[in-house]
Amino acid sequence: MAKDVRLLSEPFNPGDLVGPFTDAHPGLGGVCTFVGEVRSDGDVEALELSHYEPLTLPGMNAVADEAIERFGLMGILIVHRVGEMRPGEPIVLVSACARHRRGAIDAVDFAMDHLKSDSWFWKREKRGGGWTWIEPREEDHSDLARWTV
């Protein structure tokens, strides 16, 4: 199980996925996991992520392949939610395992930057009953640029 990439339309429990992922890689030296959740931010009632089937999952797989190659990973797990979520719900999970810690940590950072601003997702938030699309931030693009050598 070197690569496990999933797009989910229902809530998930990160712990239920990271345990088996780690167990599947005996001999690893380090595993690093990031979980992104819907932030409780003032009057935000909900967040909705939409995607485009023909592009989104293939794009996530390409990010996973690149991370495995670039950081010499033993395995990577990428899980991303779509649909409507409430504050406190997980949106994204990235877990990477490697022989040494640096590869695992950097791979998660790399995958998150690419999921935030170089993957086919569109995000909007609901406040006061109305929806607003979230525009990408400048810092998302400069975060991504760190990986271009």
Binding site: S50, Y52, P54, L55, H80, S117, W120, W122, E135, P136
Partner: protein, 80 residues
């Protein structure tokens, strides 16, 4: 048969629909003709990418879609 347009993100709001069928074949000028007002303006902008049948075009103005193909109109992304 027709060419199917798929509107993603805020473009779906501007189109007041997530999909629209238009008569093919369709090139860039034909696409803009089919998208009047603010929607067409947005699609013309530098930040909107275009895909045909799941392949993102390097140059969207070189668009050439036949009946039965799907064109996706992709505004700037925000994930995670």
């Amino acid at each position: 048969m027709a060419v199917k347009l798929v509107f993603l993100g805020k473009l779906a709001d501007l189109a007041a629909a997530s999909e629209k069928d238009v008569a093919g074949p369709l090139d860039w000028a034909g696409l803009l003709d089919a998208l009047p007002g603010p929607l067409g303006e947005a699609v013309k902008g530098d930040k909107v990418r275009v895909a045909i049948d799941g392949v993102v075009l390097a140059d969207k103005t070189a668009l050439a879609a036949a009946d039965g193909q799907e064109i996706a109109l992709l505004p700037p992304v925000s994930g995670g």
